[in-house]
């Protein structure tokens, strides 16, 4: 197949095309909502709850309203004039636009001040007071199962997901969803096992920390609304805002330019419903830009507890596994129930285990809401099952890589759900880690107060399914090409990848193609940019759209009696007598899928599997407990890389982000549910000096046969193995096992002394 184009001799796919937007970004001309100012625009600043759980007795806004320069102060009373039932959410309609009757966490939005000057709005926020009747609160996910403190009196499933319908009107529970999987007979297998191991692991609440904090602007007329927002899910925003207002979708326009990072923070509704209501009330454009610090009170990553139990044979084969996972969803469900279910079924890990039992619970607590963060729950699970795997290997006296080798899921074998593994390069990834780590060679263990250790871990993820992507590809009369898709480019390079895919089909250089950003009046529907789904789903849709355009061009060539290789401009000249017209191709993609049965079983759980593994070499200072990574090796199965350089940076970026979640980052709450470190002086993300001296990031040679040109998602795979590989290496170095993240120097020192 000839893949070359007139302007380049190399194929488009598999080429490290520099990002199309890089020049715009380095010259400061890329569009971000943060830079948007509209004539007459008001700025909103949010007044937030100071108690974790309480009935609102009184909100006094008089002093704020009286401050010179304040346009208006808005509480839920005014919100309900516009939207009588102002509750939103992707899984549950549980989150009010501003708190109604009750507050459920410290930091929950209670009122908003509008002013032309954001400093005046901020000043006025300090003048608002609220009185609460405090209620008992619950913070721990396991306690939430049985706590007398009930976060939501009644459960309100959104109805969009059929498997949540049975939860409607359920009362007196903090369990938003329980996912259950049963395969074989784990109980009996434990009785027959040679050895049984049981461990408990936990993870902490952390935050996404996109460099561009959440920001939205709304402008309105009486019957139409335009929302400019830093969102990963413009189509969802349109549908949900239209639902809240009772308007048709075509009256709500959602525009998304570039995002300065997302990582799952900018999904579903965040500020969009609030700015929409404020704009309709004020009849002026309204902008809310969160500060970095306010993001802690908006969306976070689930803290979790995982009890894992395995039965092992004499030969070191895992016969049975029982998993119980509690997800701390905070005060509002967001996408937590989906994390509970869609990640829950991979809790037993990438191993071939005949007897499996999984119980996974989504819990409400009085903490800031938790959603998806670069891995959709998978890093929490891998943290536990790979620590567990290592502990078992140690106890059994089997080399940790060899133990994994004996138990790894092979191509064609059923995973816990019964879905057969296809195009999941688990063995290749494990073996590559072994080679890159030189696992067979002797290892220097250090001396004196500096001890060295190494460890590995491997994890996998099923892409969340079923989800839909549509795309359009337009070929102009001069032969130039425009791709229309609602995938948000938040730094992952999706514009470039989509241009490469369209270019590959149309034999054009990716650099020559324009990619139009999400604008729901213009670009077709897309479920969202999340969970490493876009390259696969939108990639397939763009490929289909480009193929549709190509076949239309070929039909024209034939109709007009032109040669099969007739240049595109000549087709239009012949057809329209001048440079005129265009050809539009459309593509729509939804993979096949089968819902799990009552036992959580299905033969088609996911359209593709992601595999990620890490190997770590580190030093522990035995006097202080301080850990220094000397080497971090990350290997992933990403199918066939569409853009090898971007794949490499996605793997390294994901691994470094997870490094922060492993060693330093933790939202620290006091006994009243107050966040003690809502600033970057006290919440520490990794800096350049925290990076390992040596880092390798690799994709194995693989192919996703159902993916566009063999490709699949890569955004999250680098996160999977990092945390357990580090804990395993610490154990290797100094014999100390930590089961709770983060792996602080003090927690290591505590165990060493």
């Amino acid at each position: 197949m000839k893949r070359a184009t007139q302007s380049t001799e190399t194929p488009q796919v598999g080429r490290s095309v520099p990002r199309l937007e890089s020049w715009l970004k380095v010259t400061g001309r890329a569009e971000y909502v943060h830079n948007l100012r509209l004539p007459g625009m008001l700025y909103g600043k949010i007044f937030r709850s100071t108690v974790a759980h309480g009935r609102i007795k009184r909100i006094d806004v008089a002093a704020a309203q009286a401050l010179a320069g304040v346009y208006r102060v808005v509480t839920s009373r005014e919100v309900r004039e516009v939207i009588p039932d102002p509750y939103y959410g992707p899984a549950f309609h549980d989150q009010p636009i501003l708190a109604i009757d009750k507050v459920r966490y410290v930091g929950e939005p209670v009122a908003v001040v509008l002013a032309s000057d954001p400093h005046v709005a901020e000043e006025a926020v300090h003048l608002i007071t609220a009185e609460y009747e405090e209620l008992p609160a619950v913070y721990d996910e396991v306690e939430a199962m049985t706590s007398k403190a009930i976060v939501h009196e009644v459960l309100r499933p959104a109805g969009t997901f059929p498997d949540l319908k049975h939860l409607k009107d359920r009362k007196n529970t903090n369990v938003a969803l329980e996912f259950r999987l049963r395969r074989g007979n784990a109980e009996k297998a434990f009785r027959d096992a040679h050895r049984v191991f049981e461990h408990r692991f936990s993870t902490q609440q952390v935050m996404h920390t996109p460099l561009e904090p959440l920001v939205s602007v709304a402008e309105s007329t009486e019957s139409s609304l335009t929302i400019h927002t830093a969102s990963q899910s413009p189509s969802f925003v349109r549908i949900e805002i239209a639902r809240l207002l009772g308007w048709p979708e075509n009256k709500v326009r959602v525009r998304v330019p570039f995002l300065g990072g997302g990582f799952g923070a900018k999904l579903y509704i965040k500020l969009e419903a609030l700015v929409s209501v404020l704009s309709l009330l004020a009849r002026r454009p309204v902008k809310i830009s969160l500060t970095m610090e306010e993001q802690f009170f908006t969306i976070t990553k689930h803290a979790s507890t995982f009890r894992i139990k395995s039965g092992v044979s004499k030969e070191g084969r895992i016969l049975a596994r029982e998993c119980e996972v509690w997800w701390n969803g905070g005060a509002y469900a967001d996408i937590g129930p989906r994390v509970t279910q869609k990640s829950g079924f991979t809790a037993p890990g990438p191993y071939d285990i005949e007897h499996v039992a999984v119980d996974s619970y989504a819990l409400y607590t009085n903490l800031p809401p938790a959603g998806a963060l670069r891995g959709f729950g998978i890093p929490q699970l891998v943290w536990a099952y790979e620590g567990h795997t290592d502990l078992m290997a140690r106890e059994l006296g089997i080399d940790p890589i060899e133990f994994r080798r004996r138990n790894l899921l092979r191509e064609g074998r059923p995973q816990a759900t019964g879905t057969v593994m296809k195009d999941a390069a688990l063995e290749k990834v494990l073996e590559r880690i072994s080679v890159l780590m030189e696992w067979g060679k002797p290892f220097d263990r250090g001396a004196g107060t500096i001890r060295k250790g190494r460890g590995i871990a491997i994890g996998f993820k099923a892409c969340v399914s079923p989800t839909t992507s549509l795309a359009a590809v337009n070929v102009n009369a001069d032969g130039s090409c425009i791709v229309y898709c609602s995938t948000a480019d938040m730094g992952q390079g999706s514009d470039t990848a989509m241009a490469q895919i369209a270019g590959e089909v149309l034999h054009m250089a990716a650099e020559s193609i324009t990619v139009v950003h999400s604008d729901t009046d213009v670009t077709p529907y897309d479920m969202a940019t999340l969970g490493s789904r876009s390259l696969f789903h939108m990639g397939n849709a763009v490929k289909l759209a480009a193929e549709d355009a190509l076949s239309k061009l070929n039909v024209l060539r034939k109709e007009l009696g032109l040669a099969a290789d007739c240049p595109i401009p000549d087709i239009f000249k012949k057809k329209y007598g001048m440079q005129a017209g265009n050809v539009a191709g459309a593509g729509s993609y939804i993979p096949s899928y089968k819902s799990p049965d009552a036992n959580g079983l299905t033969d088609n759980a996911t359209p593709f599997w992601m595999v990620g593994a890490s190997g770590v070499e580190l030093e522990v200072d035995t006097e202080t407990g301080k850990v220094r990574l000397t080497r971090l090796v990350n290997v992933a199965d990403v199918g066939t890389p569409i853009n090898p350089k971007i794949v490499e940076t996605q793997i390294s970026g994901a691994a470094i982000m997870q490094l922060g979640f492993t060693l330093h980052e933790k939202m620290q709450f006091d006994a009243q549910g107050q966040l003690r470190n809502a600033s970057f002086a006290e919440y520490k993300i990794p800096g350049m000096l925290d990076l390992p001296a040596s880092m390798v990031n690799e994709a194995v040679v693989a192919e996703q046969k159902t993916g566009p040109f063999g490709g699949k998602g890569v955004g999250e795979s680098g996160t999977f193995g990092v945390s357990p590989a580090i804990a395993n290496a610490i154990h290797d170095a100094v014999g100390v096992r930590l089961t709770a993240l983060p792996l602080s120097a003090e927690s290591i020192w505590e165990k060493l002394k």
Partner: protein, 255 residues
């Protein structure tokens, strides 16, 4: 942050007069002040910039005289400082980051009285003095006497104009800090050691101000409280470890 007026006096006398006003703060590099204003901890109406007071000279003879408005970066890059007081140059290289060092000033770093900062314990150990000016005239005091507690200095509507550091000579000196979270975190412990003649050892960060100690036994008496950097026990332990390491480094320091 609330709006404020920025005043830019051209002389020390003018600056001191302006500082008498209500809700007025002096403004050096602004790296700490701006964060406090953003957080709403400080809400001054007027800021008095010290930039035009011509206090940014580094004069090295036998001793070192540094203008209070000298940026940390200028001090870090001074050849005279590197030759005569290499411990200062080494310390500055790990102080915050180059963007902060480009604007933060020596005077500001001392007056801020945040015990997590690196210069107060180091300059105290080096036996440095600060010259401060007030409406009643000038006085000179040891750096360690600038501190009354956490974020509390002993200045009385005065401005630091200069820092004077005696010759280090061949004495061994070291400053070590321990961050317990990311590498660029505020330290949990800072230890400054100058050996020879009269040994001068200062501990900071774990304490609410730089505290002089004479030996390891004195660590037990230090008032240390647990915080997000670590428990009191852990930090006390770190002081012990880092003190030993700093003394080793100072003994082996090569000029």
């Amino acid at each position: 942050m609330t709006p404020f007026e920025l005043l830019q006096p051209g002389s020390l006398g003018e600056a001191l007069a302006l500082l008498d006003g209500a809700d007025t703060r002096p403004f050096g590099g602004g790296t700490a002040l701006m964060l406090m204003m953003k957080a709403g901890v400080l809400r001054p109406q007027r800021l008095v910039s010290l930039r035009n007071l011509r206090l940014d000279a580094i004069e090295a003879n036998r001793s070192l005289r540094i203008g209070a408005m000298t940026t940390l970066r200028a001090l870090e890059r001074s050849e005279a400082v590197r030759k005569g007081w290499p411990v200062i140059t080494r310390t500055l290289r790990t102080l915050s980051n180059v963007r902060v060092r480009n604007v933060a000033t020596v005077g500001g770093a001392l007056a801020h009285a945040d015990p997590h900062m690196d210069l107060p314990p180091l300059l105290s150990a080096l036996g440095a003095q600060v010259v401060v000016a007030g409406k009643g005239g000038e006085r000179t005091l040891p750096v360690e006497d600038l501190y009354a507690g956490y974020l509390e200095n002993t200045l009385r509507n005065e401005l630091i104009t200069h820092v004077e550091i005696p010759a280090l000579g061949k004495r061994g000196a070291a400053y070590l800090k321990c961050t317990t979270r990311s590498a660029d975190d505020w330290p949990a412990v800072g230890v400054a050691v100058v050996l020879g003649g009269e040994d001068r050892i200062f501990v900071s960060a774990a304490t609410d101000r730089p505290v002089r100690i004479n030996d390891e036994a004195a660590i037990d008496a230090l008032k240390i409280e647990g915080d997000l950097h670590g428990s009191a026990d852990y930090k006390k332990h770190l002081v012990r470890v880092y003190l030993r390491r700093a003394i080793d480094e100072a003994r082996n320091a090569v000029h």
